[in-house]
Symmetry: C2
Subunit: 260 residues, 2 copies
């Protein structure tokens, strides 16, 4: 079975550099911990992949496309299907004073940004600096173990995972609910009070809205984000007065008036 473009799937995968065994990406918390690359800001567990979205390396997406639900595969992905070949023309020699003038002392191994591109300094000899614009993983063969957990057909579930992948892991599946009315093409994505702690929430919503317009415009014509907050009764009132009412309020009129 070949999954069509736009299919929503949940996958588990681990990517390793063949040469060294180094784990470069994994959906498994256990694998991440074992490899010493565990990141508490990462959401582990089955990850949403939209076929054709192009967010994964091509060889990984192609492999996923051919999997059936429940199927697991190990594949070797050549550089051309991963991070590209190493190209000699991506290695440039630049005069040392170009770096000095912009306040950077060139040293081997240093990562620098030149014209908006990242590069690694390979060597510094006299006034000549060898700069490598190749991707650090260019030329590497990647070993991928990948399992297709589920093909998502339900629009509500698609929305849930579009939202979750944009949020830090402190927001769990239990903190997000989706109501979807297929007849009205109306979707309501609901959060609890925890969502007020997420700093870049509006940026996350903009991304989700863009993806809904791209992948789900046929199924969703109206969208509502809803955040539900229980206002404390008398019993809890005292505590919240100090905590929420005052501590945070540093940008108000008083400050303005005082600032003149």
């Amino acid at each position: 079975m070949a999954l069509p473009d736009g299919a929503f799937v949940l996958v588990e995968y681990t990517l390793r550099v063949k040469e060294t065994g180094e784990v470069i990406d994994t959906t498994s918390e256990e694998e991440a911990r074992k490899a010493g690359v565990y990141d508490p800001k990462e959401r582990y567990g089955p990850r949403l992949v939209i076929i054709g979205e192009g967010r994964l390396i091509p060889g990984l997406e192609k492999t996923i496309k051919e999997l059936s639900p429940g199927e697991e595969k190990e594949v070797e992905i050549p550089p051309s299907e991963a991070f590209g070949e190493r190209k000699p023309e991506n290695i440039k020699i630049m005069p040392r004073n170009v770096f000095i003038r912009s306040g950077v002392v060139p040293e081997p191994g240093k990562i620098v940004e030149i014209n908006g591109m990242l590069a690694v300094i390979r060597s510094v000899t006299g006034g000549r600096v060898v700069v490598d614009f190749n991707h650090p993983l260019a030329g590497k063969t990647i070993l991928a173990r990948v399992k297709l957990i589920k093909l998502i057909e339900d629009v509500g579930e698609k929305l849930l995972h579009l939202v979750l992948r944009r949020l830090p892991p402190i927001i769990g599946e239990e903190d997000v609910k989706v109501d979807y009315d297929a007849k009205k093409k109306y979707a309501k994505i609901m959060f609890n009070e925890k969502i007020l702690q997420i700093a870049d929430m509006q940026a996350a919503k903009r991304l989700v809205v863009g993806e809904i317009r791209k992948y789900l415009a046929n199924a969703v014509s109206e969208l509502e984000f809803s955040e539900h907050i229980r206002i404390a009764g008398e019993g809890e009132k005292k505590q919240t007065e100090t905590e929420a009412g005052k501590a945070e309020d540093k940008s108000g009129e008083q400050a303005k008036t005082e600032g003149g």
Copy 2:
């Protein structure tokens, strides 16, 4: 009529330094422009004041408290009811090298932060720096012209103004709607898609929630923030694909995998 603590009122006011005529705060766009202190990030027009909240200088709040709707007053507010008296003990002499050590060259007129407090350097003589911790407006008599536009009784309207005062002026009154059900004590605050552009929205909501808990807990026991987005139909699809789906998506899996 003396307004009780917790009363919500809309007021217009302009504060001037008596001595110089300098406008230090105004709710009027016209006054701000005339005085050359117009700020496009400011929301002009009648401003929400909650009696007892203490966000205004005491003399201004006291004046407002005694106004009737529609009434306008001009008052002279002494320093003790404005930004405080100038206190000689707030002027300190500090050794010059304390500044130099923290990378600041002390110069008369410079505003510095010392132990989290702002201060003005008054003079530098040899190794001695005279630092003034008095508020820049301490000792000034303030002239206030203030008008009570309206006493807000409606809970929905109170909520509307609590929200609006936390938002930049690009969000107008027409972009926010409040549904309030007094029986269920349920309030729904609704925004349109423009709200997705507001960067600190969750922080603004936290402040509003804190204020509802403090001032409106008797009237509101459940609160819902709702953001309504129209997902483009087929006609608009092409445009939004490029704009929203791709441009912003810089933090996704691809980047992560590449960074590995």
